[in-house]
Amino acid sequence: MEAHVRRENRLVLAHLYVATLALMLGAVFGLLQSLSRARWVSMPSSFDYYRMLTAHGVLMAIVFTTFFIVGLATLLTYRAIPRDRSLALGWSAFWLMTLGTLAAAATILSGNASVLYTFYAPLKAHPAFYLGTTVLVVGTWLVLIDILANAVWFWRTQPGRRLPLVVHGSACTFVMWFIATIGVAIEMLFFLIPWSLGWTPTVNVMMTRMLFWYFGHPLVYFWIMGAYLIWYNIIPLHYGGKIFSDALTRVAFLLLLILSTPVGIHHQFLEPGIAAGWKWLHTMNTYGVVVPSIMTAFVIFASFEMAAQRKGVKGFWATIRSLPWTNPAFTGPALGMILFIFGGFGGIVNASYSMDAIVHNTMWIVGHFHITVGGPVALTFVGTAYWLIPRLTGRRLFAPKLALAQTYTWFVGMAIMSTAMHWAGLLGSPRRTDDVTYFGVQAAAAWMPHMRAAAIGGSLLFLSILMFAAVAFGTLFTARDETQVIEVAQVEEHAALTPAYLDRIGTWATVAVVLAVLAYVGPMHELLEAHVYGAPGMRTW
């Protein structure tokens, strides 16, 4: 390995292992939560359910995902644009993100921020929680600067050449992330941080909620874009396939860039203070952002089929059988795709406000995001770690059979847990609630069998994450093997040419900002115009 490649690999590995540690700690809390809701264990008041629920949410939804995606996008960008580069920006991002994470995690674990990962005001956490998460987010902005700096260098030095597909995807992902995180940055800097420090007496609660969900839904698409980077560009390598179309891949990422943000109010269907018309508008936009995901589903199956046909395989089942079901780098993402079919169905239900009224804040929602971020996204990342880590360390994968078993265990555990959660939610079981027996009220008794099934699924998931950790850390000590290369899939020869306007990321970013402003200027203006009473806030835990 060349020296500069080795240095870049260390940066990427740092991100992947922080992600792994977050996943491991988050898994411990996840297991305890599922056992606690089944009433098989009872958390002591010195370390209560809501403290670990906050830790689980922040570690899994924010830390694990963000570090992995940053590591992946950094790697793809660096490899697609090879040069001897300074890693100062990359390491600054890593350390800011890590310091912010440590500050937030310490505040949560010490019991001073049991506000859950949505930190809804006027629950008032210790300022270190808000400051820590803000520093984590600011760290990710440096990653965007790094990716764009590399893209600009590429355009300058190689005029006329197309921006590599993975750099285009990485740039779209992080530009979208930047536009989205502006919302949470404003929420933190102008509302929560001054208020938690005692500089402002009250907080505009609805405004903080709207700013949070301005960020909170695109956060979901940030995870999905990370997974799609892998689905389009890396997975075809595992089954000898190619990328269906360069242009179509770029269109999918651009659609996600422009449509991910103007949809957040679908998380606020059941809130006062937002006129029904805005809720309707965001519903429509939400159906729009389904399009790139449906496109992706078709493209992936087309790519499977074309690879099979090249090998002379015909028919649906024969095509499925021809895929590498014993390679964990494939089975992780592929099993995740199967889960995503159901995650997608559930998402459509949630986006329909009449149906959302039945499932809002029930366990259905928990089942939904576990079968999306905990299904396709996490399984894609974990499976891809089996491909990445050996190539980045220059070592053989430790215990490949354990890795393979890990992906299947996760799939089964998640299928059981998520089904049970969806079902309990339809029966009315609330999310984010420690003891759901309600002193033996009859309606609550029907939920318990599902809570126990969820605990069985949760235990399998915990076992699966232990298996992953064993392989991830074991691979640091295996025999050297530097023959494995990191590459990305080639585009099909017959694919149509890519129009140049798909590379104008700046123009598309402007469209994204305009759409976000159009979707939010009305409802935010109404919240600022109304005679809104601030809430003083308190610590209720």
């Binding site: 429509m284 009224a357 109304a530």
Partner: protein, 141 residues
């Protein structure tokens, strides 16, 4: 093209048959809820034949009043607000499901066509006693 038709169909359907999510727009000073009518005297008011308005306060960690009783077939409009943090207001087996935000009044209407005991619970995390926050709605046949 099919996508456009699909979106228009969904958009039109969402607007039809009065399918509107609860979007009540009314503010209230959260520090003075106990002195502000009608929440200074929370409870059930009959407004007509099997027609009620229920003013229920959501606060840490209870609903006030926690239990109400109505005859079957009653149409009840619920009004709720919070003097402290955000709560949820969810009656299981119904579509009465609202966020209760300090500073705002939330409202939803439901016709109780079946007799029985309905569980009212807080489904928006509000603190260490969140899981104790519940009430019941007794619908008499």
């Amino acid at each position: 093209m099919a996508l456009v038709v699909f979106l228009i169909a969904i958009g039109a359907a969402a607007l039809s048959e009065n399918m509107i999510p609860p979007s009540h727009i009314q503010t209230i000073d959260p520090t003075k809820v106990a002195q502000t009518p009608p929440f200074d005297r929370p409870g059930l008011r009959q407004t007509g034949q099997r027609q009620y308005e229920a003013y229920l306060l959501a606060h840490i960690f209870a609903f006030t009043p926690p239990h109400i009783t109505i005859p079957v077939g009653s149409k009840v409009t619920f009004y709720t607000t919070s003097p402290d943090v955000v709560h949820g207001f969810f009656i299981t087996n119904t579509a009465v499901n609202m966020m209760v935000v300090p500073g705002w009044v939330s409202s939803a209407t439901h016709v109780f066509r079946r007799a029985g005991t309905y569980l009212l619970l807080c489904n928006g995390y509000c603190g260490s006693g969140h899981h104790y926050m519940y009430g019941t709605i007794e619908v008499k046949g």
